[in-house]
Amino acid sequence: MSYKDRRRVLWVLFLIGLALLAVVAQATTLVRLRFQDLVHHSNSIARVRCLRADTRMENGEIWTDTTFRVLSRNKGYLPEEIDVRQPGGQFQHLHSHVDGTPEFRPGEEVYLFLAAHNGNQFLIVGWSQGTFRIHRDLRSGGETVTQDSAETPVFDSASNSFTKSGFKNVAVNAFEQRIHREISRESE
């Protein structure tokens, strides 16, 4: 490679580096939470199945309460059915949009990291960050878990680089082991 070519390559690398520095690390609405932070901030963690969603006006704001059946509990106490409250929804002729809130379809199974709010009502910690969708492979029957914010790049100042630390296509068993490990670490 000639000196001129090397210089050109170095310039390209420099410009790519500059571009990366200008690129993202946090969601506009969200501060990136590490997995241990998610576990720590959650009163409860559970595998749940979406049953239905209702929208209501309360204290002058529109909220969507999604009802889930609790299938298994990984942290904290939860009743058999819980309501998860999120901002936004449709009420009469008003449509309230809040970008970044996860949506669920009836029958869908997810792991949720929950903060207690009021009785059987909960909030999802970090919204998309505390939402882990379950995918079942129809051929093998194997299940994997993917975090809604799995692709969010995070700038690591120690290594001076961007990394993606979210969970994507992680086997359910490995995911649950990770939760238990973090809970054990927390209680030590």
């Binding site: 690390a25 506009t28 969200l30 909220w63 970008d99 996860p102 949506e103 909030l123 960050q129 799995a150």
Partner: protein
């Protein structure tokens, strides 16, 4: 990420998912389709008379009115003090408020400076100060709050915007005027999290001295994009890309007198031109339309019925000469009055400069941006008897799940 890198990512995706072959057709299409950019959409309430609902179940993008001073914001001067969450260079109480107000005006000005749109400086009234601690709420007045707790905040949530849109004419919220158009935004409030002791926001003047804080101007400009009706963009350089710059940095370039919309990317500008079309504009009137359909129809989802094309693809227009990304959209649907939306793989990118050549590419939403980040542009395309009792069956539809695994090839129009 440069376009070349994106191409590489796309090539990797192509290698990963080879089971499905997709044909990208460029055809002209004369109906409402997924347009450039991603907007928050609403379906008008067709159970109401046509005079107030338009009678069509075709999705309408949420939008503000653009008549003189139609867009008004008030902002709460109540700021978090323990700890201080909004950091300014000027430490005096009045100087600090002036500096914050300057950021609000600057952020609004960034959006109203885009050439070729009906959204101009005249559309926006000067921001008004208010000392109320609970300024934000569904009262028909747009507000910005820096120190108002809200039930929606959980650990990890930095800021959010509530946008309330009317699905028919004549709907009134609080003290605001009744809606004059279907899809009109009646109230848009921006909340900054006041309760996370680790999170601070700095004005541009204070950012360098506070490198661990977030750039207030970048975040506010993004949130103001939501108040104008935008959902998120899957284009990395866009202001409406869902992820904000790292602490101590800012999005794009700072605005200048010569380039007042400098922080925006072309994708943001194109979206503004589409959403706030200026009928007098003769430059940005180009439009590209087409279909993304599978080579093998058996690969389409069986449920809901009637899906005939790929839904939820990210379709991007690239300037053929410069390689710059000009606009991206979430494609896959079209609608012709009286509706409902058809999930036929149609896309449309409008607001493009004429006399330019463009390349189009499509990719699944399984990269840096996923369906969760644009859910308001996707899930609100349909209404039916399950979501709305008494909804007419002929104008009902169900939004399919976005196709996240496909590869692309192109072929010319039939």
């Amino acid at each position: 990420m440069t376009f070349g890198e994106k191409e590489k990512t796309m090539q990797n995706t192509l290698r990963q998912f080879t089971s499905l072959a997709i044909t990208l057709l460029l055809v002209l299409w004369s109906v409402i389709t997924a347009q450039g950019y991603a907007f928050n959409e609403i379906v008008p309430d067709v159970r109401q008379p046509g005079g107030v609902s338009s009678g069509s179940a075709c999705p309408v993008p949420s939008h503000q009115l653009t008549s003189a001073a139609a867009i008004a914001f008030r902002w709460s001067t109540m700021l978090g003090t323990n700890p201080k969450t909004i950091l300014t260079q000027n430490q005096t109480p009045s100087g600090s408020l002036n500096e914050i107000e300057q950021v609000i005006q600057q952020s609004l000005s960034i959006w109203t400076s885009v050439a070729g749109t009906a959204l101009t400086a005249a559309s926006v009234a000067p921001p008004v100060r208010n000392s109320s601690a609970n300024l934000c709420g569904s009262d028909g007045i747009n507000s910005i709050c820096f120190d108002q707790p809200d039930m929606a905040f959980t650990p990890g949530v930095l800021a959010f915007t509530r946008v309330i849109t009317a699905d028919q004419i004549g709907i009134q919220l609080g003290s605001g005027a009744p809606s004059a158009q279907v899809g009109q935004i009646l109230d848009a409030d921006i909340y900054f999290n006041p309760s996370d002791s680790l999170v601070t926001f700095s004005t541009p003047l204070a950012l360098a001295a506070n490198p661990k804080s977030y750039d207030l101007e970048s975040l506010l400009t993004h949130e103001l994009g939501h108040t104008l009706g935008f959902s998120h963009s899957a284009v990395w350089s866009a202001m409406m890309f869902p992820f904000a710059p790292a602490p101590g940095t800012f999005t794009g370039m700072r605005p200048t007198a010569q380039l007042p919309d400098a922080p925006l990317a072309d994708d943001d500008r194109t979206g503004t031109r589409v959403l706030y079309h200026d009928p007098a504009d003769t430059q940005f009137i180009g439009s590209l339309q087409g279909h993304i359909i599978p080579a093998n129809p058996l690969s389409l989802p069986a449920s809901p019925p009637g899906v005939t094309g790929i839904f939820g693809a990210h379709v991007v227009a690239v300037d053929a000469a410069s390689g710059a990304v000009i606009a991206g959209t979430i494609g896959g649907w079209s609608c012709q009055a009286p509706g409902p939306a058809q999930f036929d793989g149609t896309y449309q990118i409008s607001g493009l400069a004429v006399n330019r050549s463009y390349k189009i590419y499509a990719e699944p939403l399984n990269g840096a941006v996923g369906p969760a980040e644009v859910s308001n542009a996707i899930s609100s395309l349909c209404r039916n008897a399950t979501t709305d009792p008494g909804w007419p069956p002929l104008q009902s539809c169900v939004v399919p799940a976005p196709s996240l695994e496909f590869t692309t090839a192109t072929r010319s129009s039939p």
